[in-house]
């Protein structure tokens, strides 16, 4: 599969050149444009954890979009152009073995050979922070495309590393983590503007984003009319 990251870093889109039979799984709504020799199929099963349509609907109303669009090329030399919602960058991560845990809204697309599990609940405690964050676990071998709000910067963790939960894009599951507070006391860390942080431990790759999507939401939301 050939790909090209265009218009980096703030308006990044991913352009794929697909040959007959090649297939890519994308976040719902990500398609910008495509050749007409590509077909689309919507499923809820792999991300919905086998829950089927009813579970999918339920999740849709809780604000989490658990549907997947599978784009399959029927002819050679087809192009597909996809992009995320927020202004920011996209990156490619080759998944060779093992798993990558991706923040839900940062997952943009992956090869069809990658298994996407949205039932992963390792971060349940993050719900405490009041954000409707969810996490997907991607396993297998193939290409993974991640998006961010702002720029993406990689960190090779060896030992310990602390990241604000809103700045996490993805991390390898060889890393252990603990949700905690940034400062010594809970009140102190909230007053300091740092809500919950994730303390990583071990060896593995971590992707962070320069800007925090929930912070943007909290900045804009109160200025809008109540819903």
């Amino acid at each position: 599969m050939q790909y090209d990251l265009v218009c980096r870093p703030a308006s990044t889109a991913v352009r794929f050149a697909l040959d007959a039979g090649e297939s890519i799984t994308c976040e719902v709504g990500a398609m910008i444009a495509m050749s007409s020799g590509i077909t689309v199929e919507t499923t809820s099963k792999s991300r919905g954890g086998g829950g089927g349509i009813m579970k999918g609907i339920k999740r849709m109303f809780t604000g989490e979009n658990f549907f997947l669009n599978h784009f399959t090329s029927q002819q050679s030399q087809q192009t597909l152009l996809i992009g995320p919602t927020l202004l920011g960058d996209c990156i490619h991560h080759p998944l060779r073995s093992g798993s990558m845990v991706v923040q839900g809204s940062s997952w943009l697309a992956s090869s069809s050979s990658i298994d996407i599990d949205a039932t992963w609940r390792g971060f349940t405690s993050a719900i405490f922070s009041g954000e409707s964050m969810f996490w997907v676990k991607c396993s297998g071998t193939g290409d993974l495309f991640l998006s961010s709000y702002g720029a993406i910067y990689p960190i090779q963790v060896d030992g310990e590393y602390t990241v604000d939960t809103g700045h996490i894009v993805a991390f390898e599951d060889t890393l252990q983590f603990k949700i905690g507070k940034a400062g010594k006391s809970l009140i102190g860390s909230f007053l300091g503007g740092e809500g919950l942080v994730c303390k990583f431990q071990g060896q593995g790759k971590l992707y962070c984003q320069s800007h925090n999507p929930p912070s943007l939401g909290k900045l804009l939301g109160p200025k809008l009319k109540p819903r």
Binding site: A10, S11, A33, G37, E41, M60, G63, L81, L220, P226
Partner: protein, 231 residues
Amino acid sequence: MVSTLNFEITQRPDFSMLKVALEAGQQVFAEPSAMASMSPNLTLKAGLKGGALKSLGRMFGGESMIVNTFTAEKGPGEVVFAPGHIGDTQHYRLTGGSLMLQRGAYMANSAGIEVTGKWQGAKGFFSGEGLVLLKASGTGDLFFNSYGAILEINVSDDYIVDTGYIVAFEDTLQYRVRTLPGLRGGGFKRLFFSGEGLVCQFSGQGRVWVQTRYVSPFLSWVNPFRPTKNN
């Protein structure tokens, strides 16, 4: 009147600005509030261009009825235009043909171009966000803008674009609004689950310009952060 403008587009694709250097007596037309700065030699006149009916058409096309006219009355000068949001600006030279613009994409034009609204009938109505188009025709320079970067696509056969991501296209192309091909489960499933709005299928020969971001999904993203109503 000289319909060729001396211009420069800088800071692409995210913070694009259009600088136009006008010769004495030359004019440029732009959407209201697009002007960022200008020389004192220029006079700005707001008004209905092309009469009330044409303006009404533009209003249906999602553009303001008012088009500002900048004239270099007191000698040469320059004017800088910028879109209201972060995004790209694209130049297109019209030579007697027509260019279709998505609502809101119009930014500025030189003399010699007429911009009119075009009611798309049911074709536009069903696309939700509205494939409400403006039609620019004549001979001269045209500038349009986007949210996100603009990518040019050369269509030589069939091509599909999500209606919300269309910025402009040449009218040598035929188009029809349709659902995505190959989606099983019919209209309901497509509309509610695939998340891809209606698409526009282009055929023929011509160019399409698409934007890499779209405001509506961003607004949907912000929506959960709005406060809830307390009665």
